[in-house]
């Protein structure tokens, strides 16, 4: 029996989404075409966009559909940087440590090729951005800040950031804010207007939609220079639009928001956390304590003295799919920069395990993990010594 506890990597499509997706895939027509077939496709596309907009608390015109979270983040970070440096010089990008690689690598690229300077803002021990440090970074020279970019919730440890305070603080200094909500969307309310953010990235497949579909919610007042040129089909993005993807994303996003606050998932997660802490010596829950400060589907532990890759193998052999956090191209588990930024010692960060639950997770899944984990940790510790 396969136990899938890696919803933060990708969350299985529901039958409802799959049906809407495959049905829409049969529709012939380019949404940009003027004829009837094009109009039919356009109708699907805009229906999907409207659903995504409702789920994010924005107007449809503010939704730029993309190929996924990575493109959304790149469009926001690079696009806003370029737009803010048009006729002005604002070389600074402010970001917390512990961002997803989409942001880390995009910002590093800007530093290498566009002369950006990056101010990394410290995290506290639970992975939350230090607002005092952010304020200090903003106050240094507010006029040269291109943008502030931050996770809405951590994809690794599940900590929810104080986004309203963060946005208010940045805006006080006139800096626009991008929030990467890929790990937050479908877990906590992501209301872009209420948060006051200028741009927010989300991805469909993290909420049970298809891979290859995402969105950047871009406030009417915000501008980005496009990454892709060739037709201006959308504001800030060229390329034929994916009507079926939009439909599927719309269904998945609507369902994800309707399911909030994920009380059932949170209860399962809480039982899992209690069970692990009770049954495995030296297990430490990383990130914020369960509650409003942590996404309900996330449990993240370190097991000092065990290697994450050994744990992953042993659990996989027992039919349980989990994650160590982030992996590089060759599939090697890397030491988590998020944990290190939280002040977790290297020796403990090596034994990291991210367990993420979702809409199809059952009590039996949690039981299977609780059954297998103590022995896996013991073996992995023996293998590392």
């Amino acid at each position: 029996m396969a136990v899938y506890l890696d919803h933060a990597a990708t969350s299985p499509m529901t039958d409802e989404v799959l049906a809407a997706y495959t049905q829409a895939l049969r529709v012939v027509g380019n949404p940009a075409s003027i004829h009837g077939a094009g109009q039919a496709a356009r109708e699907l596309l805009e229906t999907g966009r409207e659903a995504v907009a409702r789920a994010l608390g924005v107007d449809p015109v503010e939704v730029v559909l993309t190929s996924g979270g990575t493109e959304s983040v790149n469009l926001a970070v690079k696009g806003m940087f370029w737009a803010r440096n048009r006729g002005a010089r604002r070389p600074r990008v402010i970001a917390p440590l512990g961002e997803h690689h989409a942001t880390l690598d995009a910002v590093a690229w800007l530093a290498r090729h566009e002369g950006a300077r990056v101010d990394w803002v410290e995290l506290d021990a639970e992975g939350r951005i230090r607002l005092d440090a952010l304020a200090a970074a903003l106050a240094t020279d507010p006029d040269d800040v291109a943008l502030v970019t931050a996770l809405w919730a951590s994809n690794e440890v599940g900590t929810v950031q104080p986004v309203e305070e963060l946005v208010a603080l940045a805006h006080r200094y006139g800096a626009p804010v991008h929030l990467d909500a890929v790990a937050a969307f479908g877990q906590v309310p992501v209301d872009v207007h209420a948060a006051g953010a200028d741009a927010v990235s989300v991805s469909a497949h993290k909420v049970g939609g298809p891979v290859g579909v995402g969105a950047l919610a871009l406030a009417r007042t915000a501008t980005v220079e496009p990454l892709l040129h060739g037709g201006d089909q959308q504001r800030g993005r060229s390329g034929t639009q994916d009507a079926a993807g939009a439909v599927a994303f719309g269904v998945a996003a609507t369902r994800a928001v309707a399911d909030l606050p994920l009380a059932r998932v949170a209860a399962l997660r809480d039982r899992l956390v209690e069970g692990v802490l009770a049954s495995v010596d030296g297990a430490v829950l990383r990130g914020a304590p369960p509650g409003p400060g942590r996404v309900p589907g996330n449990a993240h532990f370190t097991f000092a003295g065990a290697d994450g890759d050994a744990l992953l193998y042993l659990l996989d052999a027992a039919g349980i799919a989990v994650s160590t956090g982030s992996a590089c191209q060759a599939g090697v588990a890397e030491l988590s920069h998020v944990l290190l930024a939280m002040g977790v010692p290297e020796a403990e960060a090596r034994g990291a395990l991210r367990i993420t639950l979702g809409h199809d997770t059952t009590d039996a899944d949690v039981d299977a993990l609780l059954d297998a984990l103590p022995d896996a940790v013991a073996r992995a510790r023996a293998a590392a010594s």
Partner: protein, 367 residues
Amino acid sequence: MKILAAMSGGVDSAVAAARAVEAGHDVVGVHLALSRMPGTLRTGSRGCCTVEDAMDARRAAAKLGIPFYVWDFSERFRADVVDDFVAEYAAGRTPNPCMRCNERIKFAALLDKALALGFDAVVTGHYAEVRQGPDGPELHRAAAWAKDQSYVLGVLTAEQLAHAWFPLGATPSKAEVRAEAEARGLSVAAKPDSHDICFIPDGDTRGWLAERVGAQEGPILDREGNRIGTHPGAAAFTVGQRKGLNIGYPAPDGRPRFVLEVRPKTNEVVVGPREALAVSELAGSRHTWAGAQPADAAAGFACEVQVRAHADPVPAVARVEAGELVIRVDEPIEGVAPGQTAVVYAGTRVVGQCTIDRTVSAVPVDA
């Protein structure tokens, strides 16, 4: 048995894993990530380190229907193989990094981890055979003499051999392995062999070493200690080397000169005639037995010794004397440098090995 198949991404390890699967074992494929920066996509393959190799290994495992993981040994590899290689060269020795990798990574770090995680054995695509002898496992040469890799496995001890399996050992030729890979639909069937040192991307070992060891000009001496030239850095020279000395004038007897000795501490390179390369005895304190220690180790036993991966074995007598494995060859041999490994054979069986610390020239200076 529960088997861990170490899969480099090459054809040999893929076929070895396939044979383990076919023999009915519970097999898991593991690719060792030996570099944190896997570099670019190269043409061909060196059997490790590249993203492409990891991908090839993954595709082969999928074809065989076995689980596949990439395990990170890059820190151990850096410390135990790469840094060791540089340090040995800096000390004027000529190490074999593939042996070091077998000794400390594949059949130490990996094997230990595998056993602790519940595996019974590690399978690799090496050409050699483990046989059950009267006193436990024995390591033998492969049936395919041209591909035999028992030399680079000579460092394995009885405990390591007890958990090692080389399914290609009895295969008569590499061509047969490639044909089998083709028949099994493995995409690596025609992938080129790896030859060079995997962590030196362009194969330029000298340049790579010079960058790390540093190079400072120093004297080239003859056997009597006279300065006869200048070298750009002693560490880049290897005993037996003829080219690249650039002394500028011929020896008094008009014969070519060869590097006889490298002295990193004083940054000196000693050169002389070819016959001075001949060695009658070699010895090393770091020695191991591939199985039980021979009963007559103290008294001395007749054997054959091989000093490089592709050298011919030569008759010798070996004995353990004051903690050293001392090997006297029946006829003097060339191409022996400190840091190299001498592997001692009895017929096809590997008896043991030592890292060569010192040699005794067959031709004294005043001869």
